[in-house]
Structure formats: C-alpha cells, structure tokens
C-alpha cells in the first residue's frame, strides 16, 4: 500500500517556458487546498543537490501567474546525471521530509525524474513545460501557445518593413527536432514558405516556388525556417544563396532567438498550467508515480513517463497542405 503523501516538492528544469510560474502556483495552491505541505526547489535538480529548498504557501505564489520564466529558476544539471548526484538529491529529499516530487520541464527533465524514481522508489510526477511542444502523450506543452504568439507578433512587425521595401525575409524560429512552431507560426504569420525538419523541401524547390509567387504579383515574402531544417545550410548561407539565385529581391535574415522563451503567458498557457498543476498534486495524492499529467482533447490525462518520453510521431494534421493553399 502506498504511504499517504504529506509533503510535496516542485521544481522547474531544462529550458524555461512561459506558464511555468502558473504551473508552480497551481501546484502550491493545490497543496494548500488538500492540506499538503509544499516545498519549492530552486534551480532544478542542481538546487536539489545543493539543498536550495524553501517552504511555499498560497501567498508565496501571489502575482506570479502572469510572469514569464520561472521564479524557482531552472538549470541543466550534469551532476544529477550521475549516480552520486542523484544520491545527494535523494538525501536532501529525505532530509526535508519530502515524500513526492513534481517536475516541470521537458524530456531531459522527465528522464531524470524517472531515474530518481527507479533508483529510490520515490514518487514523481511530470508536467510538460517547454515551448517546443515535442512531448508525446499530450496535445500541448506549457509555453508553446505563448511562443507561437510571440513569433507571430515579431513576424507581423517584420512584415511591415518587408512590404514597405519589397524585400524577402528569412526568419529563423526555434524547433530543433519538431517543426510545430515553424509550421503554425508560419501559417499564422502568412509566410510564403515554411521549412521544417520533418520535410526536406530542397533549396531548388524553394527558389522555384519563390520565382513563381513573384510572377503572381507578390512583392514581398516571408520565409519561416525552423532551426533544424534540412536544407544543409545555416540561415545566413541560405539567405545568400537565395539572393544570388533570385534576381529581384533584396534578402534579409532575422534570427528571433530567445525572445521566443519569454513574455507573459497567453491565457491558454495559464489555464493549461493551472489544470496540469492541480492534476499533478491530485495524481500524487492518488498514489500515482512515474507519470506525466497531460492534456488530450481538453481533458487532463495521466500518461506513464515512459510513454511521454517516446518519440512523438510527427503528425501535422493536414497543416502542410493548409500552408500550401493559404500561401498561394
């Protein structure tokens, strides 16, 4: 029989994402609601190893729901990848009488949580927090919706100058392994072409397509490129290549970079984070462990961490065709 959970700790780990604060807040308030003591661990697993632990109550998370980043801070910990590191971490959990852990992060963070659970039979629950939306078993990850809005707003600005000058812009967005941000933000921003890792468009086809759209009267163009696209060129090389092979356009390159990780979370991400944070505490109280709390068709679901760590199939739900049609 599972021991009743009385003290829950929460940490954020890996790359930060807007909405992490909302998720922490929901964990803390759910603990308060269910009369469980709540601990915040600073700087992810690194802070757990160094015992940077603090009690959090309902008032500790006042006015954080609308803040980007994570007030618990995040870090990538090399030490936690070692047996010794995890031993220190476990010892600190015991020392603080913590009997269950909520980990907010992406696949690297979940792998760590799983190890801890396997080695010490310690209850862990994961919450998917990453702008990349690359976790299996959940429709959305916390931060993804906000990042899409940030990208679209940035491209709206670039379009102002692009269409004032008849220019072609190559815009790099995040997404090393998955083209979700590029594809959705590309459609949302009205991009003419979208290059994603899942599809190798081929540079020649790109050039040809741009030539064609120029003929139909397009005078400026936005091309969205995911970091991990398969063109074999980095975005600056790609820009030069396009400029040399298309006579009429001035080409400019813009790398959106870290603005994509910040900013106040969208309403969707705040609500999602609130649902998942409450769900994580309820799952722990219900004796669950080694699971992720995800969202599937608006419903909070419980997914084994091992399944969450599976490679997510790249389904783009007909989006590539929608992109082709709407960029006519």
């Amino acid at each position: 029989m599972t021991k009743k959970v009385k003290n829950i700790a929460v940490l954020t780990s890996g790359g930060d994402a807007p909405g992490m604060n909302a998720a922490i807040r929901a964990v803390v308030r759910a603990c308060s609601y269910y009369d469980v003591k709540c601990f915040g661990i600073y700087k992810g697993y690194e802070g757990l190893i160094n015992n940077e632990v603090e009690v959090l109550n309902a008032r500790s998370v006042r006015n954080v729901i609308n803040k980007g980043g994570t007030f618990l801070k995040s870090a990538r910990s090399k030490e936690f990848r070692t047996v010794e590191g995890r031993k220190k971490a476990y010892d600190n959990l015991v020392k603080n009488s913590i009997d269950a852990l909520v980990v907010i992060g992406g696949d690297g963070s979940f792998t760590g949580a799983l190890k801890l659970s396997e080695e010490y039979n310690f209850p862990v629950v994961g919450i998917p927090g990453t702008i990349d939306n690359d976790i299996n078993g959940t429709d959305y990850t916390i931060g993804y919706d906000t990042a899409l809005n940030t990208v679209v707003e940035a491209i709206d600005k670039i379009r102002d100058t692009a269409s004032s000058h008849n220019r072609l812009f190559l815009i790099e967005v995040m997404g090393r392994d998955a083209g979700d941000i590029a594809l959705n933000a590309g459609i949302g921003a009205g991009a003419e072409e979208i290059l994603i890792p899942e599809e190798d468009m081929g540079v020649e086809r790109l050039i040809e397509s741009l030539r064609k759209s120029k003929k139909t009267g397009k005078t400026s163009s936005i091309i969205v490129v995911a970091e991990g696209d398969k063109s074999g060129k980095n975005i600056f090389e790609l820009g030069e290549y396009v400029e040399e092979n298309l006579n009429d356009y001035e080409v400019r390159v813009s790398v959106l970079g870290h603005i994509q990780r910040g900013g106040p979370p969208s309403c969707y991400d705040r609500v999602l984070a609130s649902k998942l944070g409450v769900g994580a505490v309820e799952a722990l109280l219900d004796g669950k462990s080694e699971v992720m709390i995800g969202i599937v068709h608006k419903v909070v679901t419980i997914v084994p961490l091992k399944i969450a760590l599976d490679k997510r199939p790249h389904k783009h739900d007909g989006l590539i065709k929608v992109a082709d049609i709407t960029s006519v």
Copy 2:
C-alpha cells in the same frame, strides 16, 4: 448529382471576431488553389440583398491575416429574416452566377444560411466565427482565443493598480449565455472569484468567500463577472452591495466592453481560421451543403448546421474546480 461548384461567395455576419479576415483569406486562397472564382459580399446578408458583391483574388487578401475585424464588414439584417429579403438575396446570387456560399458567423448567421438553403436548395457552408465559443459541434470558434488573451491582458493591467491599492475589482466580460470567457480568463488572470451564467453562486456566498480570503492574507481581489451572471444585480449594483457588506475593501467596477472584439488575432485563431476556410471550400467542392466546418481535437470536421445550432451542453471540464483550487 450535385452540379460542380464554380463560383463561391463568402460573407461575414453578426458580431465581428478577430480571425474573420484570416478565414476570408483562406476561403479566397483555397478558391484560387482549386481554380474556383471567388466573390466577397460586403456587410453580410444586408450587402447580399443590396448586391454589394466584388470578385476577390489571391492578392485581394494580402496583409489581412493579422488584422482584427472583417474587411468585408458585417451587419445584422432584419430584411434577410423575411421571405422577401431572402428572395432578393437569392436573386443576387443567381445574377452573379454564384453557386455556393460560405457564411462566417455565429448561430444567427447559420440560421439564415439554413433558411436560404432550404428555400432555394442553395449550397451553404458555415464557419464558426464568434468570440463567445457558444457553437455546438466545434471545440473552438474563431476569435475566442484572442478574446481570452485580450481579457487577460486587460486584467493584468487592472491587477497592477488593484494590488497597489488593496482594492477589490469587479470586472465584467462578455458572454451573455456562456461563461467560457469568464471562466477561462478568470483562471488565467488569477481571479479570486468568477461569476458565470451556468452557476448561480449567490451574492451571499460571494461575500462570505471574500471575507474568508481576506483573512488568509489577500490584500486585493479580482472578481470576473460574465455579462449574463445570475446574481440578479447588474455589475454596478453588485459593486455597491459588495462594498457595503465588506468593510475593508474599496470596490471598483470595470466593464471591459468592445475591446474584447478587436485586436490582431492570436496565432491559434489565425491557424484555426486558415484550416476552416480551406475546409469550407473543400466541403463545397465535395458537394456538401448545410454543414458547418468545425474543429474537434485538432481535426477539421464537418457538422450538420442543424446540430451546430443545437444548444451546446455546458461542459466546463473540471474548470470550476480548478478555479476554486487555484484561487485559494
């Protein structure tokens, strides 16, 4: 056998919503992609009756995806509710050789489309465009996600001043029949209480709950109230009542009003509108009529207009509990 559709018209009707332009653009570009002629009808059914019709091509919808409102304009038409009005409308469709119609709007607009189809066997397809998210058979309507972000941003601003002054704010948001905006934006904005039409909280319970949260150390409070809440008082009366019955707070009232309808659409609404616009043209080319194109679990679906017009069951997916817990 269905006659092949060659000329499609599109109009927007009823209250405008952010993303309508993106939907029009997708309809126009899908027509272009499938070699169908596309007509824009101005001012909804009213404009159809007055034959305010114009050919649209792929370039006509350049740089509209990021604009709020609808460049085709919208209107509520009393005349179209009469047999004579619809006769005039039909005659104009015939005169322009239009053989199918896409209607972007809410339930009133769909009712009109259905009448037209029933009386003249004229192919119609609906696209749900309304900030209220009150259409049956689709997870989301176009404009709803943007409205949520607008509300949450506005409340973030009000919270700055509320927490600088230890004030209690009553904030009225749209949603006469459905509390979706109030409930989601309320959670997203970290509201202490949320009053929605689907639940009658009772003014006394509100007062009591505020008293309790005051005791736990809350120094300012945001209460989100849907237009159609069941307290039996309008928001100004409610504000006075709360001030009289709670000693320590200064109470302020804010009615967000029409800012909720405007603004650049969110990425989600732009992508949704793009999918549904393409889906509507494909449905018409496929011989469908009297259907709405909706989204269910990310997948574009085809729903009979009659079902779309059914009263949507009020499911809030555990959100009320999430609101209770996170506002602890």
Copy 3:
C-alpha cells in the same frame, strides 16, 4: 548649514502610475551609488503613520523596472491631513533615523510633503508620478506616456469592430481636469472628435460635425471624451442623445477605466523615472528641500514644490488644430 543627509526614505502616494517602480528603483540605486541608506515606506503616508518601513538595497529593486503599479503600494491617507497624523509620521521618521523623504505622486501628495516640511523643517523632494500629466513645472509626469499608449491600443481594438459594423463609438478616457490624455490619444487613435474639459464644444456642434463627416464618406467614427468634459451629460446620456439625433449610426459607449493605470511602463516612462529618481537623491544630498524634480526639454530641473502645485496653464501647443485637420 544643512546637515548631511545619510538616510533617505521613499514612498508612493495617491493614484498609482506605470513607472513608479522604476522611480523607486532609481532612488534606491542612487542611494546605493552615493552610499546613503535607503528606506522604503509602504502604503504612502498611511504606512508612514503606521511605521511600515523597510530597508531597501540595490538588490531589493531587481526586476521591478518593467512592472506596472508600485511595489511599495500606495494609499490616500485622511489621517495625514491632520496635525496629529503628521506628528505620528514625523515621529516614525525620527525613530528610523530617516533624515530626508522622497515622495512620488501627484499634487495631493506634494501638498502633504510640503506640510511635513513646513511643520518639522524636514527635507522633502517630490517626483511627479501620475498618468494625468497635470503637474506644473515639468513637461511630463511619470505614467502619462504609458497611459497614452494603453488608450491608443484599446481604441485600435475598438476601431476594428467599429469599422466592421459602421458604428459610432463614444470612448471615455481619464482626465478629470486636463484633456491631455483625451487630446493626444484622440489624435493618436485617429478619433473623429475629441471632447475635453478645457473646451466646451457643445453637443449641437458635435452632432453637426458628425453629420458632415458622414456626408464625406465616413462610415464609422470614434469620439474620445475626457471624464471631465463640459457637455453636461455623462457619456451614456451623451451616447443616447447622439443616437437619437443622428439617424444612420448605431452608437456604442465604452469606458476604458482602470486599465489606463496599469501595464508595463513605456521606455519613455522608465527612462524619465530613472532620471527623476536619481535627480531626487542628488537634490537631497545637495541640501535641497521643498522641491520637485521635473523634466523640461529633456533636462532634469528643480522646481519649488509651491510652483509645482500652481494650476498648470492649459497649453495644447496647437494640438486642437492638428486634431481638427487630421480628422477631416
């Protein structure tokens, strides 16, 4: 000879304004830079009376420059208007060894500061922080620029829906005594008419002007109304009157309200607040008292508080004519 100032306190008072946090931060950091101890007083004069005082160091004001509101909180204090209240306040200053006070606020706050100085010969310096821009002796007050942007963004959203429906909107903005917000935001938002307290346009002239602009092809209209306009009607009455007397428009009313006080400050307000905060500390160290630190033609200036409290002449620098011309 003036005693050397060693311990400076800062408080915010009256209505909050975006940029107050940036001003507090600049005061605190300037104290740190000049090796002076800095105290934060919570809740304005009320908190001073209740001795809600805390030492602030350079790290205390980390990450506040971009936050709306004031983390020191503000309040209006009735007690401070009495001799007894000010006695308590002074006693707390002495008890904490505070030897100079920076007051961030509007005219009410400055009046209080002046009384304190007069009664106890206590060094005080004011910083103009109010969205109303109604302080004499400074080109701008902290928060005004942000409020203008907030109003213009809100009206941009309302215009989306206004022009989608051929509607006329009456929009009430803050400014009981001065029409600066209405006039500037009205021009910035492209309003057709602007009603300000300084000029009595007359309701009849408004109706006539709207009729005329309707004839020139205007299909929607935005009218910006300052709270304190001289039409003799409140904005809802005005709306009804306009609707009755202009046949073709649907009229809607929107009261922007408290969103105008919040939000992250604009760059201008942050830089202004930084300059004035530094200037206030330098003035105190320089032996000044009973002065306000203002900005005149980009230069930080020192103005006697008595002059700052004078009624500001209403100069609108030809803006009314610019409004007339650009709304043609």
Copy 4:
C-alpha cells in the same frame, strides 16, 4: 513672389519607420483641409522616376494611422543620385502638375530633396522619419519612440529567460552612428552595461565591471550593444570573449534586427507625425522650401535642410551617468 502651391506630392524614402503612415495621412488631410490636391508617390524617388503617382484624398488614408511601415512603400534609389535620374523625376513632377514635394525620411532622403530643389528650384520640405533619431535640429524623429518600446519589450522577454537561468545576454540593437536607441532602451530595460558608438568602453573594463556586479549578487545580466559600438569585435566574437573571461556565466547573444523597424506606432509617434505632416503642408503653403519640419520642446519648428543635414552633436543629457547609477 512665390507662386501659390496648388498640388503637393508626398513620398517616403530610405529605411521605413513606424509613424510614416501617420505622417502621410496628416499631409493628405492637411491638403484636403487647405483645399490643395495631394499626390502620393510610390517607392520613394525610384517611383517618382518611374512615375508611380496617384491622387490621394482624405478617405485614401483611412485606417492607416495605426499601421507600421509605409503604404506608399519606400526604396533607396541609385538612379536619383545621378543628374539624369533627377531630370526624369523632375519631368514627372511637371507632367503631373505637382508644384511642391514633401519627403519623409532620413538624411539620405533630405540630401536628395535638396539636390532637386537646387537644380530645379522646386519647393521641397522634409519630415524626419527614421528610428535612429540621428537628425539635427529636431528633438525626435518619427519612429524612434516606437523602436525604443519595441526594444524594451523584447528585452523584457529575454530577461525572463535570463533570470530563470542565471545567464548573461548580449543584445544588439540598431544605431550604427548614434547610441540613442541603445542608451535609452538600455536604461529602460534595466541593462547592466550599455555599449554605444559614442563611447569606447573597452572590453577589459566591461569584463571587470561584470565581475564586480557578479560579486554584488547579480545572477543574470543584460548587456545592450549598439550595432556600431567601438569594441572592435562583432557581437558574436564579443560573446565568446566574455564567456571565456568570465567563469560563472553562460553567455547568449541576441540580435534584435528588423523587428525594431515595424509594429504599430506609439501614441507619441502618431501625434508627432500628425503635427509634422500638418506643419509640412503649412510651410509649403507659406512659401517655404529647403526646410525640415521638426519638433523642439514640443513646438513645431522650421529648420533649413542644410542644418538638418549637419552632424548632430552627441548629447546624452547626463544619461550615461543615469545608466551607471541605476545599474548599480
């Protein structure tokens, strides 16, 4: 005696800036107000050479005041720098019966205008439109205030992630010759260090200063770098150098790029553009030529173009000291 001006043309030239549309609108509406015919010239001087000219009336500039970029489009024209090019341009002015020209742009555009005036005695007036704020004789150029807000908003987002990870960010902003954007946005964003072309800080002093602030407890840092800074390294080299020489920080580089040129103009830029557009038409009607319409201490002023083209003295009004103090 000067011939009465009856037909005024307006063009935008050089890099686009937010508020150019508001300036065009004001020129067009002022023409309408003063009963002068107005022509829009597309694509700057290039379009004038190619006779891309169109009559504009008050309704042509409906709903443009809030749009970034320039609907007249802009371009840099090599041909206009030749005598032959300007001949063609002049011939087209004559052919269209245009008798005066308003040029919205920066110093390159003003140089062109001056040449045209000198060679053909053709009346020209300039309006300063550039985000760089590098024009002599005016306090502000159109677009500068908006660019500052855009930069500050972007850095606010980056700060979310910087402070979640204890990272140091180098952020490049526009300003090849003048550090106004870097200095003001740097103060506004709370940057720890600001590198501008006007001051050579020296890389070693930067490293030392960062080391010092680390010791005072800073855990993340933002360094704003103007494009044209004097470190002798590009920003990526600078990033590597800092990382190698400071042990504790992870360093990241972000180049904000073209987002700085776009977006809806701030209220300040809209009002400024409205004033200057009206002023330009009034100056031409008053017989002025070879002048720029600028703003000095809120007042519209008329400055000889030759003075506007003078190198602007780099005055930073004590801002560098404010930056030093507030980044303590």
